[in-house]
């Protein structure tokens, strides 16, 4: 396992989920005549003026509001996503400018399918843990793309989670240790210049999601001398409703441990945002002294696992920004035609 020399933690955290939803049944109405099961109840849809950059800005503002840290003290703004609006031109500089963090700040974009945000988190732990900086912002955000009628279309959604990393003494939750497990696994990919990602057939599922998550999670628990029962809550990457529940069970976690952070049935797979928004929702209800186990997953493939301990400071800071629930509750459902228009799927001739 990896631990920084200087203990670190989350000084602030913030979630963002767009206001719009499309029901999975509405997608099924178009493509399967409503027949068959659907992997989630609904997914979040970005509004016509939203993208990964705007999602990141709001999540990061929520994290800063909770932290109460002056923006001039933040030394890095790192955005993990697979849907950066530009192929060349960093999201990080625009987000940093909107937060008022520029110009004396490191800004960068991270890419690792659905775990791009946790790559930024581990890097932020290192930046603060080495003493190079006091505060670093790690963001996971996506407005995920999917081919019409593809299985992915039922789940590929939009959301963002932002975590401000700083010294453990000031944290709402300390990050006690982490591991990272990666392997070259062709389970899901999108070639440059192609609009939609595709699944690598038999590599999906068992050798990908389950193998990477279980490897990272088991190693971290074993290195820490702990088991699933030693943690109050757990969050896993959530590409659908079923996978995170199945991997939790295999690892010995109960339904009640994952309940606060299991959002995919309501909002789909927010990709780089998924585990991080789940963490935000869990921090919204966690009490001082409770512990959180989180394992991310990115296709390609790999997982990062983290163990956190909630501190007294959560009580004062939690309500300085909207709770994740506020974003989950404000849902406005749209039909497939409006969805197709907003996502740019209509050919205007």
């Amino acid at each position: 396992m990896m631990k920084p020399e200087r203990p670190v933690g989350l000084i602030g955290y913030g979630a963002y989920v767009p206001r719009y939803r499309i029901a999975a049944r509405e997608i099924a109405r178009i493509w399967t005549d409503g027949q068959g099961g659907v992997p989630v109840d609904a997914k979040s849809v970005p509004g016509p003026d939203e993208d990964t950059i705007t999602l990141s800005i709001e999540a990061a503002r929520n994290a800063l509001a909770r932290a109460g840290v002056a923006i001039e003290q933040v030394s890095a703004v790192w955005v993990g996503s697979e849907s950066h609006p530009y192929s060349v031109k960093p999201s990080g500089t625009i987000v940093a400018e909107a937060l008022g963090a520029t110009p004396w700040v490191s800004a960068a974009d991270f890419e690792f399918a659905c775990k791009a945000g946790s790559e930024a988190l581990t890097a932020a732990m290192a930046l603060v843990g080495s003493g190079m900086a006091n505060y670093a912002m790690a963001i996971g955000a996506d407005t995920a793309q999917s081919r019409p009628s593809d299985a992915l279309e039922y789940t590929a959604s939009a959301g963002a989670g932002a975590l401000l990393i700083g010294p453990a003494a000031e944290a709402v939750a300390t990050i006690d240790a982490t591991v990272s497990y990666v392997s070259d696994t062709p389970d899901f990919f999108r070639r440059a210049d192609r609009p939609y990602p595709v699944h690598g057939n038999r590599f999906t599922g068992e050798p990908a999601y389950f193998h990477q998550i279980q490897s990272a999670a088991q190693r971290l628990m074993s290195d820490m001398g702990k088991t699933a029962k030693d943690f109050t809550y757990a969050i896993f990457h959530q590409p659908n409703a079923k996978f995170p529940q199945a991997v939790a069970k295999r690892l010995g976690f109960s339904d009640s441990q994952i309940a606060p952070g299991l959002l995919s049935p309501q909002i789909g797979n927010t990709y780089s945002g998924a585990a991080m928004v789940g963490l935000c929702a869990t921090l919204d209800v966690a009490q001082p002294g409770e512990t959180i186990f989180i394992t991310t997953y990115g296709s390609g493939a790999g997982s990062d696992a983290y163990a956190l301990t909630v501190t007294e400071q959560i009580l004062e800071r939690r309500n300085r920004a909207p709770l994740t629930e506020a974003y989950l509750k404000r849902q406005v459902f749209i039909d497939y035609a409006v969805y197709a228009k907003w996502i740019g799927k209509l050919v205007m001739g």
């Binding site: 709001e58 625009i94 909107a98």
Partner: protein, 131 residues
């Protein structure tokens, strides 16, 4: 030219950066250059809170170039808590959700996509307060 015009306004558009008078405390938005003969350091840059109330609103049913796909969409005038009155698009809401005097908050959103070989323009909009 167009890229430079958008870029120049980024602090105001992305985070509502205005100006505060160092002596009187008066706040203005958008920022202005010093008046002729005025001490050039009299006004300092300040990021506004983004909180305010809806002073008036209307709905655009015929949008300008680049906004055809958004119509109908609400626009409003917002009285910021620091004093200035700002005109902006309203987002995450429909006409039925709006009332004069209601509290609103600033969000940074895409303002305009200027084309595949051009920039995305971001800036402030307002929405009914979330909580």
């Amino acid at each position: 030219m167009e890229i430079a015009r958008h870029w120049r306004q980024r602090a105001a558009r992305y985070r509502l950066q205005g100006q505060r008078h160092r002596e009187t405390g008066e706040v203005r938005f958008p920022a202005q250059p010093p008046a002729i003969g005025e001490d050039p350091t009299a006004w300092e840059a300040v990021d506004l809170s983004g909180r305010g109330e809806l002073y008036s609103f209307s709905v655009l049913r015929q949008g300008p170039d680049g906004y055809e796909g958004l119509v109908p969409y609400p626009v409003g005038m917002v009285r910021l808590e620091e004093g200035p009155l700002v005109a902006a698009q309203l987002t995450d809401c429909a006409e039925a959700d709006l009332a004069i005097g209601q509290p609103v908050e600033m969000v940074t959103r895409q303002l305009l996509d200027t084309g595949e070989d051009n920039v995305l323009v971001y800036g402030y909009k307002f929405r009914p307060v979330l909580v």
